[in-house]
């Protein structure tokens, strides 16, 4: 007891520490939380089931850890703080996202050579067995188009080189250069600032590039009506870092009143078909994932029917980039079917009659093309 003052401070230390670690569990478990984590655009992990099996294989433990982290009070504020702290420490990339002054860019990792060659082989095989014409369009991501704005020496895949390399191996199909016009128009909002997708403006460029090869004449951009449907879109890149230092995005919906109308949209969710009217799912404008305004969430099969004259049908194997591309394509075909091979585990031909289609387009962004290994499923036996 030689120093009563220091003693007192240690008491305060004890009290403060115990208070903090006793209070937090109450906030984790006793305060109700929403089931959906809006900022991160994901479901909150539910409490894991507790039994001998889940204990033995430790899924209870890992489930509990995820539950506690997801139910943590002010979760998204903590993640935002983490991002700010990392930036203050000198980091330029957080959770796979480069944080630039005016935009967030998701890093694309080195390509998996095996996956890429699987996909190339599958596309070539498909082109050989399909009677109509096959096309391939690989779309660079924002990381490629804004490469010069990334921090010096920052690692990201050389997408342009890989596109060229894949195109050189394409056999029996036509390839479409989306890179050139995207790169030339890099200053006109072709990618969202806070999301990994291209905007409708970007998709329009892809559509124009397709026209000359697929045999339609793209409608000039100034003939479209543009509706600014939302100015408060914060997309997938935002969700990874919860960083509001870049401006929110605008969702623009393009329409061409003089063109053919959409007569029906059928969606197959893997179990059953359902009907929707129109290409824009406006209910998503009120939610976090506003990009889903374009044809909703990813689904195994989406078929768009129009009253376009003539009878030409296009089948697209795609990822979500094609959701904002589809409204443009629908101007030139009586039917456009989008197939997402990530969500089909049996042959697509069990659901769709390939012979009805005149043209088939493989349309992927480079991030999905290099990371997914699903294009090979296009040749599954019926």
């Amino acid at each position: 007891m030689k120093n009563p003052r220091k003693l007192k401070a240690a008491h305060v230390s004890a009290a403060v520490f115990l208070f903090l670690i006793f209070l937090t569990p109450i906030l984790i478990f006793a305060v109700p939380k929403p089931v959906f984590l809006e900022d991160e655009n994901k479901e909150r992990t539910p409490f894991p089931s507790f039994n001998l099996t889940t204990i033995r294989d430790k899924t209870f433990m890992s489930g509990f850890e995820d539950y506690a982290a997801d139910a943590f009070p002010f979760r998204s504020e903590w993640i935002g703080l983490q991002t700010r702290l990392l930036l203050a420490m000198g980091q330029k990339e957080v959770n796979g996202v480069y944080i630039l002054p005016d935009r967030l860019i998701q890093r694309v990792g080195e390509a998996d050579v095996q996956k890429v060659s699987n996909s190339v082989r599958a596309i070539n095989q498909f082109a050989a067995r399909f009677d109509g014409a096959t096309y391939l369009m690989l779309i660079p991501t924002a990381a490629e188009i804004y490469r010069s704005e990334l921090p010096a020496g920052a690692p990201t895949l050389d997408e342009k080189a890989l596109i060229d390399q894949v195109y050189a191996q394409a056999d029996g199909l036509a390839t479409i250069d989306a890179y050139s016009s995207l790169s030339a128009n890099r200053d006109s909002s072709i990618y969202y600032r806070s999301d990994h997708h291209w905007t409708s403006r970007g998709a329009y460029l892809g559509y124009s590039a397709l026209g000359s090869q697929l045999g339609f004449t793209a409608v000039p951009i100034d003939l479209f009506n543009v509706e600014h449907a939302s100015h408060s879109f914060r997309g997938s890149s935002y969700s990874k870092v919860i960083y509001d230092g870049v401006e929110a995005d605008t969702i623009n919906l393009y329409s061409y009143p003089a063109g053919p109308g959409v007569t029906g949209v059928s969606i197959f969710d893997g179990r059953e078909w359902s009907e929707h009217d129109g290409l824009y799912f406006r209910e998503y404008l009120e939610q976090k994932d506003k990009y889903a305004t374009f044809l909703g969430q990813n689904q195994p099969i989406i078929t768009i029917r129009t009253d376009a004259p003539g009878d030409s049908r296009l089948l697209v194997f795609k990822d979500s980039y094609s959701h904002s591309l589809a409204p443009f394509l629908a101007l030139h075909y009586s039917e456009v079917t989008l197939i997402d091979l990530r969500y089909l585990r049996s042959s697509f031909e069990n659901y769709v009659d390939l012979d009805r289609y005149d043209q088939v387009l493989f349309c992927y962004n480079m991030s999905n093309f290099t990371e997914e290994d699903v294009i090979k499923f296009v040749n599954l036996e019926k």
Partner: protein, 467 residues
């Protein structure tokens, strides 16, 4: 469950402390044992029975030795049984795959390799448990009558899986009688907060730099600048990771009324390799000294025997870290350096300016981490060639790594020095009140900032958990 995680910090720890403080003094060891087994079962729901078995065995060995005090043969038998079984468990679970792999490769056989997963912390708790039986045999400590108290000692969660290696005799008195005061809790909380910050704010954030470089280095040579940045990052990561963990353990020990031995004393300020090993993982070095080096005869049998003993101890120290050749090499590397220092270098080293002594020791330790991290001699050689410039001097990516990690690197260098501790000690003497308040602020700040990094932790390994 690592200490630096949301479930430990905000679920396990408060629940355990609640019951621990609630229970009367005589019953606290029950809470300690139950919480220890729960902690272990969280990570090893099956192998927890292994720990149950080995504590029962060592406890019984202790009882037998005490019962047959007058019969040296029985005492020896009890000791040998316990030591052999403990070492066999270690051999089976930690070294069998390695052994079978090498025997197969050497003799062209195809023996079945069970590839048993390594039980977390087995190297730590078998060593602790053995210290009890050996000390008891030597008469250096007294028998523990209660199984609960003995199991509580081995399974005590703060030091169970990652040390410090607390010898039974270190805490024998406290197992029976310890006082828990608010002051101790406060001091423990401060120590815990220091450790948490070291682990979460520093180690976890510098770690990705080494991960990036290592990934490239496994594929081929890397530019010298990247190689140096990477291995320096690992040098700091492993120190802040492990010493942070030890600080957290000691802090929680204090909150529970125990005094655990120190495990680190600013190792990167060492002036020689001999000095380094007095400052790094001190409880492991002292374990090997007491239970291997000295029983072998230490340095009393002349130069040749001393050299033999040192080599044995350091090969074992290397292998203790993991069952693979690179750990053996790592241990030998230090064994040879220590022998050189002991017999040749010391007198020259002592005449060098202090800064050169520090530089010499630090550089050799950094080189040591190459052996530690690169698993095969070929990769080790390749990494040294990278350090020497075989992969070019620098690339665009080296610059990126430098600019994004420079600040953190400087922070690491500053924080691994001993000045902060010295400053604090002096400030404490002169401005006790201000320092007391600053401690409280530090606890809040470090909990607050660490929480921000833990809520969405994508990278939160604990390096020594593998051992």
């Amino acid at each position: 469950m690592v200490f630096s995680s949301i479930p430990f910090l905000y679920v396990y720890l408060p629940v355990v402390l609640f019951f621990y403080y609630l229970f009367p003094k005589k019953r606290k060891n029950i809470v300690l044992m139950a919480s220890g087994f729960l902690f272990y079962a969280w990570g090893e729901p099956v192998y927890v029975f292994l720990m149950l078995f080995s504590t029962l065995l060592d406890y019984t060995a202790g009882r037998v030795m005490e019962r047959y005090k007058e019969n040296p043969k029985i005492r020896k038998a009890a000791l040998l049984t316990s030591v052999i079984v403990n070492l066999s468990l270690l051999a089976v679970f930690k070294y069998s795959s390695f052994l079978i792999e090498n025997v197969n490769a050497l003799l062209g056989l195809d023996l079945f390799n069970p590839e048993l997963p390594l039980p977390i912390g087995i190297s730590f708790y078998t060593f602790q448990s053995m210290s009890y039986v050996i000390d008891l045999y030597r008469g250096d400590t007294i028998m523990q009558r209660s199984y609960i108290s003995y199991a509580a000692y081995v399974s005590m969660f703060p030091q169970l899986v990652a040390g410090p290696i607390v010898r039974y005799d270190d805490v024998a008195a406290e197992m029976e009688n310890r006082t828990i005061t608010l002051e101790k809790i406060g001091d423990g909380a401060f120590l815990f907060a220091v450790g948490l910050a070291k682990k979460v704010l520093i180690a976890n954030n510098i770690g990705p730099l080494w991960t990036t470089v290592k990934e490239a280095a496994l594929a081929g040579t890397v530019p010298a600048a990247s190689a140096w940045l990477g291995i320096l990052a690992f040098t700091f990561q492993i120190y802040f990771d492990f010493s942070g963990y030890s600080d957290m353990a000691r802090g929680m020990g204090k909150m529970l009324g125990f005094t655990f031995p120190e495990n680190f004393d600013h190792p990167y300020t060492a002036r020689s390799i001999t000095d380094f090993w007095r400052r790094w993982h001190m409880t492991l070095s002292s374990w090997f000294k007491s239970y291997v080096y000295i029983p072998l005869g230490g340095n009393r049998g002349g130069t040749v025997k001393t050299i033999r003993n040192l080599l044995i101890v350091w090969m074992l120290t290397g292998l203790w870290h993991g069952a693979s050749w690179n750990f053996l090499l790592w241990g030998l590397y230090f064994g040879v350096l220590l022998i050189l220092e002991k017999f040749v270098l010391r007198r020259y080293l002592e005449r060098l300016p202090a800064i050169l002594q520090h530089g010499y020791a630090f550089l050799l330790v950094v080189f040591g981490w190459v052996f530690f991290e690169m698993e095969t001699p070929a990769l080790i050689g390749q990494f040294f060639r990278s350090l020497a410039g075989a992969g070019g001097l620098a690339a665009a990516n080296s610059l990126y790594l430098l600019t994004t990690f420079a600040l953190l690197m400087i922070l690491c260098a500053i924080a691994s020095g001993s000045w902060a501790t010295a400053l604090l000690r002096r400030a404490d003497a002169r401005f006790p009140r201000t320092c007391g308040v600053l401690r409280v602020v530090w606890i809040v700040l470090s909990l607050f900032l660490s929480t921000a990094f833990l809520v969405n932790a994508t990278y939160n390994p604990f390096l020594y958990l593998r051992f």
